[in-house]
Amino acid sequence: MKKFLNTYDEDCIACHACEISCARIYFKVDDLERSRIRIEEREKSAHIVACNQCETCVQVCPTLALTVNAQGVVLVNNRLCVGCYMCIAACPNESMFRYLGGIIPIKCIACGLCLDSCPTEAIRIEEKQEN
């Protein structure tokens, strides 16, 4: 089974609390660009962008810096990453991110620490069959 952050756009009210929570946890800043989850405000609804652990990026990484842990979560090995961003372009749901001044790409690792910040339960840690 594979652990991942499932997203429910229809419940999202675009309050961005999850982004703030994520950026604070991992970067100790309020900069939404540092969040591993992103909320896109669209005309009719919000769209939550977070990695679904599909592993497409793992296939394109030239340095094998992207690996899958025992829970099926894709992790970036900072020591091996050379910042080429081929993973960003290859990601089918555009959930691998860069941020200003950064070199290593960031992505959701299904830690679930943002869940409590969401007032509508639009994000949930779930499990699914392997790809």
């Binding site: 990484c61 030239p62 080429c84 961003y85 372009a89």
Partner: protein, 711 residues
């Protein structure tokens, strides 16, 4: 583990690259065992930029007018360019190799991938300059982690690259996890015997767990390397990050890179399928357009060529791997055949990984010899690489020998029993193994077309005029694998190329022949100015040409000048400024190249070539040499006689029509040369004028002194 003596050692201070430059070059003299750090001056950066520009500048000041390839003062220079080694923009890991060529006697330049260039650059050097000759076999080791350069003894028995590269990676890496931080430059056994030789630049393939090999192919660099008794250059550097090139504007660099990555992700499967089959996608296209060289460039199309179509190679290439020869190249064109088992030679029956074949190798080692079996081409590719042989010169040289065999100039007595009939792959394998052993008729073929012409006329009484017409070389270098007969502009693209007939200065066949976008002499001359200058720029920066136009933006056809791919030109301007902090526009980009291009031209003159007479193609590159060639495309040629020359072909013999066509085409070519020289700011004899050099800011005293000898 091989016992090595330290013959010389040079510790140096490790410093970060700043804005793409180290501002120092590494000088090594193998005769005296001197190792020095030399400064990069403002003049070098302002006038020569980097990469090939630095190579040529360093070589100019080290060789004499009389220097030949095997003189101790000849150098092998390897330079990297300010953009080299960035991991953000696809195709940014190229090294440029120059030396005085054993085939042409003038500077040759090769643009090659692999990890050596970026690692050597990040070890602290903008260029490496190797002069002198060692008395014993040596390895040069650059430890970019510790800041030490060593000349080490090399008692290694192995020479051939696919084994030597892996052994040296294992020896010099700290542990198996560190294999990716080591890269090796090596050649092969054949480079000790034949000048059509090359260098292999390795990169460790972490998924396949093998050393992959990219080639500095043209002009005999391998023979100079082995003549200096260099077994290998080894570099180790483990500090690579996404900003090691220390750009001034990382943000722009990253965004421009991601933009191209996405374009490739969305467009490549619909466009050239580089990620699936590499440049081999060209085979069926060239065959469809009568441009695939067959039987020593006699014909451009044959039904049998489907045996070498890209779908045949796709079956052999392992799919779905990130096959970039430098990190961050999402175009991923360097395909490989895994677990290949050769059926001939010293590695018969052993499993090997073969890089490629790329298009040029398919043309040279396949269609041009009428070898239609894809696996045979893979095997020739493997042996060329590991023996250190250039697949292009090998193919064109074998094709010439086979045509001479067809005409009876050669026979089994003269070839040592080899039947060189078209398509006889077994004989071609024997030729390549003879080159690897340094024996037999293979060594004659390995001298290249220019020397074979002399030998066959002198030893076998062959007609020198026929040999000149069918010998596909100019300046001593073999043609690469496109038919130029029906494209006047490409005849110029090949034959006016400074180093010899290689397609990396200009590829104009579609613009000229298919799309008729450059109909007049002036149009062709403009294209033969712009494209060689634009393409020269890749070699100054340490870039690959392929991500420029082997992937195009979806709306490229709607732009004013689609052949230039304007959006990608702007990308290059953006990443140049993002890395170096220096302003650039598309005009200055061309002028950066023009300075170095004219310098190289004068360098060729200084070494005894670079004259108008050196820019003459063999007639096979221009039109039909034999009756069979004329008759095979009779309708086309008769029509041309009528429409272009106003001559009624009715009632004329084939010989008469051939003579009329030849006179016309040779005259057209000379008119083209006039137009191109004029556009380039050169005299009718092909000499850059002092005024033109002044206008470029290249009226350096040493350059003017050489030019004055010719004016």
């Amino acid at each position: 583990m091989t016992e090595r003596k330290v013959l010389a050692e040079f510790p140096y201070e490790l410093k970060p690259v700043e804005k793409g430059y180290n501002r120092r070059t590494l000088y090594i003299n193998l005769s005296t065992k001197a190792i020095e750090s030399r400064p990069v001056t403002d003049l070098m950066i302002d006038k020569f930029v980097g990469g090939k520009g630095f190579d040529l500048y360093l070589m100019w000041h080290s060789v004499k007018d009389t220097t030949r390839w095997n003189d101790p003062e000849n150098e092998i220079c390897i330079a990297f360019g300010p953009l080299c080694g960035n991991t953000n923009y696809p195709g940014s890991g190229k090294s440029i190799v120059t030396t005085i060529s054993p085939l042409t006697d003038i500077p040759i330049d090769c643009n090659v991938g692999g990890h050596f260039g970026p690692y050597a650059k990040f070890s602290g050097w903008d260029a490496i300059e190797i002069q002198g000759k060692s008395e014993e076999e040596i390895i040069v080791f650059i430890d970019g982690d510790k800041g030490i350069v060593q000349i080490l003894s090399a008692p290694d028995e192995e020479i051939n690259s696919h084994i030597l590269a892996e052994r040296l990676i294992a020896e010099f890496a700290d542990n198996p996890n560190g294999y990716q931080y080591v890269s090796v430059v090596s050649s092969g056994k054949a480079a000790e015997y034949v000048p059509i030789s090359c260098l292999n630049f390795s990169f460790w393939d972490k998924r396949r767990k093998v050393a992959r090999l990219k080639q500095a192919g043209r002009g005999g660099t391998g023979m100079v390397f082995r003549d200096k008794k260099i077994k290998a250059l080894v570099v180790k550097y483990s500090g690579l990050k996404g900003d090691t090139n220390h750009p001034v504007d990382l943000e722009t660099l990253q965004k421009t890179g991601i933009k191209l990555h996405k374009e490739i992700e969305e467009g490549d499967d619909k466009q050239n399928r580089m990620r699936q089959v590499g440049t081999a996608h060209l085979v069926e296209i060239m065959n469809d357009y009568d441009l695939l060289p067959i039987k020593n460039f006699k014909y451009g199309q044959m039904e049998e060529a489907k045996g070498l179509a890209s779908w045949e190679f796709k079956k052999l290439f392992t799919q779905g791997l990130p096959d970039g020869c430098w990190f961050g190249c999402s175009l991923s064109c360097c395909k490989a055949v895994d677990n290949f088992i050769p059926r001939t030679g010293p590695y018969k029956g052993q499993k090997v990984t073969v890089d490629g074949p790329e298009y040029e190798t398919v043309g040279g080692c396949g269609s041009n010899l009428c070898i239609w079996n894809a696996r045979d081409v893979v095997e020739l590719n493997f042996y060329c690489d590991t023996y250190g042989i250039d697949t292009i010169s090998f193919g064109t040289s074998c094709a010439f020998a086979m045509e001479c065999y067809e005409y009876g100039i050669l026979n089994k007595e003269r070839t040592g029993g080899l039947d060189l009939s078209w398509g006889n792959a077994d004989s071609v394998f024997e030729l390549i193994h003879q080159m690897g052993r340094g024996e037999g008729f293979g060594v004659i073929v390995g001298q290249g077309v220019h020397k074979m012409k002399e030998i066959f006329a002198r030893e076998y009484g062959a007609d020198p005029k026929l040999l000149q017409d069918i010998g596909m070389e100019a300046k001593g270098l073999e043609y690469s694998q496109y038919m130029s007969k029906e494209s006047l502009a490409q005849q110029g693209g090949y034959t006016l190329a400074l180093k010899g007939p290689q397609h990396d200065e200009a590829w104009l066949i579609f613009m000229d022949m298919v799309n008729n976008q450059i109909p007049t002499f002036e149009d062709k001359a403009e294209a033969l100015h712009y494209f060689p200058m634009f393409r020269t720029w890749f070699g100054l920066q340490g870039l690959c040409k392929l991500p420029w136009n082997d992937i195009e933006p979806a709306n490229n056809a709607e732009t004013d000048e689609p052949a230039k791919v304007p959006e990608h030109v702007q990308n290059y301007i953006d990443i140049y400024t993002a890395i170096t902090g220096r302003p650039l526009d598309k005009e200055e980009l061309i002028r950066q190249s023009e300075r170095v291009y004219n310098f190289q031209k004068v360098f060729c003159m200084r070494m005894g070539k670079g004259r108008r007479i050196d820019d003459i193609p063999p007639y096979r590159a221009v039109g039909p040499v034999t009756e069979e060639e004329y008759l095979s495309r009779q309708e086309r040629y008769d029509k041309l006689l009528k429409e272009k020359q106003g001559i009624d072909p009715e009632g004329k013999s084939t010989q008469e029509k051939m003579a009329l066509l030849r006179a016309y085409r040779e005259d057209q070519y000379q008119q083209l040369v006039d137009a191109v020289y004029k556009r380039k700011g050169w005299t009718k004899e092909g000499i850059p004028t002092i005024e033109h050099l002044k206008s470029l800011g290249m009226d350096l005293p040493e350059v003017v002194e050489v030019v004055k000898r010719f004016l």
